[in-house]
């Protein structure tokens, strides 16, 4: 059994590949199930056919669709979210930020750090200002707490998914 993980912001979806049936040298059938609360739900059979180096997919082995060409490993866009698909395991250090951690949602430059280490902050208080594409964006605290660590400097250019600051929740 092979497990897939989909990184959906702070939620992770876990999908099991439950069955693989090889029909011929160019046709394989997979059965996927979504794992939720230790139960299987949303089971789906997908047929994959390889023709001329391209992959075609179908749910019923009758109506075929070609996947648009794109690179592996796979990320895919679902309307307003860019999701990553990991096969088997999830590399450490990617996503999964704990509550209270401020992670860049997009690449940008730190314009101003508003809070100091040890500051008491409240939920949705602005802590850092990031500039990206001619616009300033306020990064707000998602919890009430105390600023524990500041990991970036003003003027620093950051990639997506970088931890900028940690906030310790207040009990």
């Amino acid at each position: 059994m092979r497990t897939y993980l989909i990184d959906n912001d702070k939620n992770e979806h876990c999908i099991d590949l439950r069955r693989t049936t090889v029909h011929s040298s160019e046709l394989v059938e997979f059965e996927f199930s979504l794992v939720k609360d230790l139960h299987y739900s949303n089971t789906q059979c997908i047929f994959v056919r390889r023709l001329a180096g391209q992959y075609f997919v179908s749910t019923d082995n009758a109506h075929w669709k070609k996947l648009a060409r794109q690179d592996l490993p796979t990320i895919f866009l679902n309307v307003n979210k860019v999701l990553s698909i990991y096969r088997g395991y999830k590399p450490s250090g990617i996503g999964g930020a704990s509550d209270g951690g401020l992670v860049t949602q997009m690449p940008g430059k730190v314009v101003k750090i508003v809070a100091k280490v040890g500051d008491k902050v409240t939920k949705s208080q602005t802590l850092i200002i990031i500039e990206a594409m001619k616009m300033e964006n306020e990064v707000k605290s998602n919890i009430d707490g105390v600023v524990k660590e500041i990991l970036v400097k003003e003027g620093q250019a950051l990639d997506q998914g970088i931890m900028m600051m940690t906030v310790e929740p207040q009990k």
Binding site: T20, Q44, A68, Q70, L77, N78
Partner: protein, 476 residues
């Protein structure tokens, strides 16, 4: 005609667009490559490249001495600034002139006259172009504000002299409103801009943003290329434009009036290139001058599509003092209807810029589609530039056909990996009021199309992607 060497002081889709026009005219196009855009697609379409070192826009596309230095070194005859960057910088145009390089744009005097919002309004008034009625200077007392408001008619806007970006203004519908708000707005203005002076201006309810394309040569001939309606905006930036304006519709008297007003203003400033005169039009169909853009605009393709004239080619011809090949205004005819959607790297719901990497890019467009873009698989959209990556333009014999083609074109544009505004554009193109042509600049704040976007997780696609990964892994 002699072959000229034209430096394109811009990037992205407009650089590709200018390179195309240079090729058509037989000129040599020279692109700029910078250290952070070595793979830029526009470079593939220029005849030559020059390198501008530096890591920021200030050191590259905005670096006047740097650009002039490479221009001299590479024996450049003319510079096309595109839009943004140095396109409306009067001192850059003047510096070019001093260095003996042709600036492909209007003369520095025209840029200076129209560059500043306040002075351009004074200029327009003198040329007999209507401007938004209001006080001529700062209003000192409540009584004065009420008196002016009664003259110009309610509703009015109390506005900080030094204001901007939608801050430091308040709408007033009655005398009471003015009494209530006057001091508060003054305090706000003083706190935010350090200047508490206020202006009174007529408040135009549900305004339409309508602009007229102008083209002039060096011999004093000024033509207009009809109007464009650019009322679908977010963050005060246009996202959908169309020509002709559905609000003006078949009111040819109004159309003629607004276009000729724009020509009058262009003549008054001795305009000699491509430019745009922007107006606001109220629900009562009265229009007022807003500003003049002394450059080629992002949305120029829709005008090209309905008139069949290549504006950038004409702009280059005009800069070299050549004839535009247009005998008179009567020769400029419009046919059909064109719509443009700006494709931006942004979150379709929050409409905030979202840089990222394009991992897949495919197109399949209907007849009558034009896609000016700088996209390719592997393109890394960085936060350093504007998020616009392409302009999708469709043309139809009537508006409904252009809309139908646009819906099909949006369905035929596939961008993977990069968040983009296509889902939002699709909602607007299917929305009833937009389809009827009933919209103003308050469309996005009131209709809120972003709330109708379905963000449900597409499990079927996720399964399909996983299946293909698995199939490739097992060597199928």
């Amino acid at each position: 005609m002699t072959v000229k060497r034209i430096l394109i002081a811009n990037r992205g889709e407009i650089a590709m667009r200018i390179a195309r026009a240079c090729r058509e005219l037989g000129h040599v196009s020279v692109g700029i490559w910078t250290d952070f855009e070595v793979n830029a697609r526009h470079l593939e379409f220029c005849d030559e490249w020059v390198h501008l070192p530096g890591k920021s826009n200030k050191e590259t596309y905005l670096n006047i001495p740097g650009i002039l230095k490479v221009a001299k070194e590479y024996k450049i005859d003319a510079i096309h600034p595109g839009y943004g960057f140095l396109s409306e910088n009067g001192s850059f145009a003047a510096e070019c002139e001093k260095s003996g390089i042709v600036f492909i744009g209007p003369n520095p005097k025209a840029i200076a006259a129209m560059g500043d919002k306040a002075t351009s309004k004074e200029f327009a008034k003198k040329a007999g172009v209507p401007v938004v009625p209001g006080s001529t200077g700062a209003v000192k007392t409540i009584e004065e504000a009420i008196k002016i408001s009664k003259e110009i008619g309610f509703p009015i806007l109390l506005k900080a002299v030094a204001g901007g970006g939608g801050r430091g203004m308040r709408q007033c519908f009655t005398d009471e409103d003015i009494k209530k708000n006057f001091e508060a707005v003054g305090r706000e203005a003083l706190a935010s801009f350090g200047n508490g002076d206020l202006l009174v201006e007529k408040y135009i309810v549900n305004p339409h943003h309508i602009e007229v394309q102008i083209l002039a040569d060096k011999k004093g001939k000024v033509f207009h290329f009809f109007e464009r309606e650019c009322s679908i905006q977010r963050r005060h930036q246009k996202i959908i434009e169309e020509a002709p304006s559905p609000f003006i519709g078949d009111d040819e008297v109004l159309r003629k009036n607004i276009c000729e007003t724009a020509v009058r203003l262009a003549k008054a400033v001795d305009y000699d290139s491509a430019g745009t005169v922007e107006f606001v039009m109220g629900e009562d169909r009265k229009f007022y001058f807003l500003e003049m853009n002394t450059r080629i605009q992002v949305e120029h393709p829709i005008t090209e599509e309905i008139t069949g004239v290549d504006l950038i080619v004409c702009m280059i011809q005009s800069a070299f003092g050549e004839d535009l090949g247009i005998p008179s205004q009567e020769w400029i005819k419009r046919t059909g209807h064109a719509i443009e959607c700006r494709i931006c790297a942004e979150d379709p719901i929050t409409m905030l810029p979202a840089p990222g990497k394009v991992t897949g890019f495919e197109t399949n467009f209907p007849q009558g589609t034009r896609f000016d873009n700088c996209l390719y698989k592997g393109l890394n959209v960085t936060p350093d530039f504007d998020p616009m990556v392409g302009k999708l333009v469709t043309k139809g014999i009537v508006r409904d056909v252009a809309l139908r083609k646009m819906r099909a074109a949006l369905d035929g544009l596939f961008i993977e990996g990069l968040k983009n505004n296509i889902p939002l554009l699709k909602i607007i193109l299917h929305e009833e009021q937009f389809n009827k042509g009933h919209y103003s600049t308050s469309y996005i704040p009131t209709v809120k199309p972003q709330e109708k976007i379905n963000t449900e997780f597409d499990w079927m696609r996720a399964f399909q992607v996983m299946a293909s990964i698995e199939a490739r892994r097992m060597g199928l």
